[in-house]
Symmetry: C2
């Protein structure tokens, strides 16, 4: 794996050189992990003209990335003593090495940290690395996609087991906790994000946080979960009906959201504009009169973070590439009544390779449970 | 409750006026919640010379504070449309209202957001609010302490139930998940932080992230957990021995850490210097020759965040007040062998009120399970 990380750092170095900066400081944890193979608590990556250095904070062994190991080809520099900011130490080292400028992640560094870096190395010109590493992360290699695929299998499995159990009378909170336990049972590092279970009037709300409401006959039940596997995070969302037969309004609403989600999925192709995927799904909902209660975006990239570039939203600029994993997740929520969300993770693939690869394969038929 | 939040905002307004700034922008979520009663996803609080405003992001209903409701006396201003930053909108409003300066939380705002605020309101002088709100949060009222007390009871209960079950053969991950489920069963909003369960050579490591290692006979088992209750977060840590009788080295190490923790607890009093609490506990460990493997601090404040001011650390400046809840959590970790941590949450109280109030009452005898 070491060559993978070295190659990623080499690409970042090219970008920096093209931008006129030979040295860069990466602080955002997912970016550090992408380039270094691991991001121990507080660690930062100093990318030098030739040599790179991982500076760790004072809590080695802590943090979310406990299982990951840094690239062995990378020099690792533990900070002596407590309380020091590795980003400040990195700037100090860069200045001592004669660097003239340092590109930093201004969208991640706070004003206070940025000032501390400037004051330890007053002769260093601080540039903005901006979202360079995030952009490098958009297109995944097959190793990364394989982690997402395994994560999706784990989430599918956890969900299918839940569906076999009795649901009526159980609370949203308990169902969410049980799903998370099953994710870990099946080999996930943990949940990819806080599992959402929404019943009755809560169903269909994006990012709904589970409450003590119990599942009742006749409810819509919407579930959104994902597994983190080797750091990679996927997402699946499904909506079910509780009881023997759905009401007509439930069937109509489900069919509509399903049609919107299918339209979005079918638009995924290399070269498709981000906003077109959003538009195609959104207009199915719009044309049925649901301009309200529709989420601000129809999908987003996934990877080391659950919400990455690209955003599939009305104002998004850019086009899809092959090997970009995204969610397609339209929904409608009717206040007081509930609603429907359907959410898949797919990988953009060219037509010649069979089109978009669906990672989350749980059925999207409307199941009455 | 509304008067509580209004009184907190009035105190912040006094601080700001004393600092020469009539208008402040609070962005750090725990600070927003402290002053507004809730912090919906992305919400910011604009504290004006007379009137205050809560500006919400585009994901109402999402976020961690779903159960909390904003102070009803507060104007709530939802942002129209997607993608706008409420902090930028707030600065725009402040400038339109004729404000000359705006104090912002430079330790929370990124360089990019700070620049966006400056560019939308170029005539507004941006000052640093620094840790003003964090300092207001240090001393708790009895309502806040009552939330911490209930949270501690929940954590005690979850832990005592776990101790009644069979532990040998179960993995760290599963024990941690079971503890988190029990926290929710007993009424917690959720875990206060990622529950840590550490066995054998992992035991005693601060912030250890649970692995697939199984509990074995003869192991040390250290557990650290906490409940979030109405937003308030407490912490308890205990170490046990698995099997019929602990080894001599285990008893000796346990007794040592217990003595250090007791010394720290007994130092808690209004007027005690933060660093003295650290020193008193630390020197018990130092004098036994364990300068290595000791955590960088012996405790910290808790409240709306699990790690707040004060820090009970060697270089900390300041003195304890009454009604400040803190942890006392010394530990020793011996690489390859494991170790011991003992962690309580206590509230500083004057001698006349009976001295420090212990919130986490699970026994600290060395139990062999």
């Amino acid at each position: 794996m070491s060559e993978v990380y070295a190659a990623r750092r080499a690409r970042l170095r090219e970008h920096c050189n093209a931008g006129g900066t030979a040295t860069a400081l990466v602080t955002r944890p997912a970016n550090v992990r992408y380039l270094a193979g691991a991001a121990p608590q507080g660690a930062v990556l100093l990318l030098g003209p030739e040599d790179d250095l991982l500076l760790c904070g004072d809590a080695p062994g802590g943090g979310r990335d406990h299982d990951a190991r840094p690239d062995e080809a990378l020099r690792v520099h533990p900070l002596p003593g407590a309380g020091g900011d590795p980003a400040v130490a990195a700037a100090d080292l860069a200045a001592a090495d004669g660097a003239e400028s340092l590109a930093v992640e201004e969208h991640h560094l706070t004003v206070t940290r940025h000032r501390a870096i400037a004051s330890v190395a007053p002769r260093l010109r601080l540039d903005d690395l901006a979202g360079t590493v995030e952009q490098l992360r958009v297109v995944k290699d097959e190793e990364e996609i394989s982690c997402l695929r395994i994560g999706a299998e784990i989430a599918d499995q956890a969900l299918s087991e839940l569906l076999e159990s009795i649901l009526v009378g159980r609370t949203e909170r308990h169902l969410a906790l049980e799903l998370e336990r099953r994710l870990v049972d099946h080999g996930a590092d943990g949940p990819a994000f806080a599992t959402s279970v929404a019943t009755g009037p809560n169903a269909g709300r994006r990012l709904h946080r589970p409450t003590d409401r119990r599942v009742e006959e006749g409810d819509f039940l919407s579930v959104c979960l994902g597994a983190a596997y080797r750091g990679y995070r996927c997402e699946i969302g499904r909506t079910f009906v509780i009881g023997t037969s759905p009401a007509d309004w439930q069937i109509d609403l489900y069919d509509l959201v399903f049609a919107a989600q299918r339209a979005g999925r079918e638009t995924l192709a290399p070269g498709a504009a981000y906003r077109d995927v959003d538009r195609v799904a959104r207009q199915v909902l719009d044309s049925a009169g649901y301009a309200e209660g529709i989420p601000p975006l129809m999908g987003h990239g996934v990877g080391l973070e659950i919400d990455e570039d690209p955003q599939l939203a009305p104002a998004a600029m850019g086009k899809l590439d092959a090997c970009v994993p995204v969610t397609v997740e339209p929904g409608v929520h009717l206040p007081g009544r509930g609603g429907v969300r359907i959410d898949d993770t797919l990988v953009v693939r060219p037509e010649a390779d069979g089109g978009p690869e669906l990672l989350t394969i749980t059925t999207k038929e409307l199941l009455a449970l």
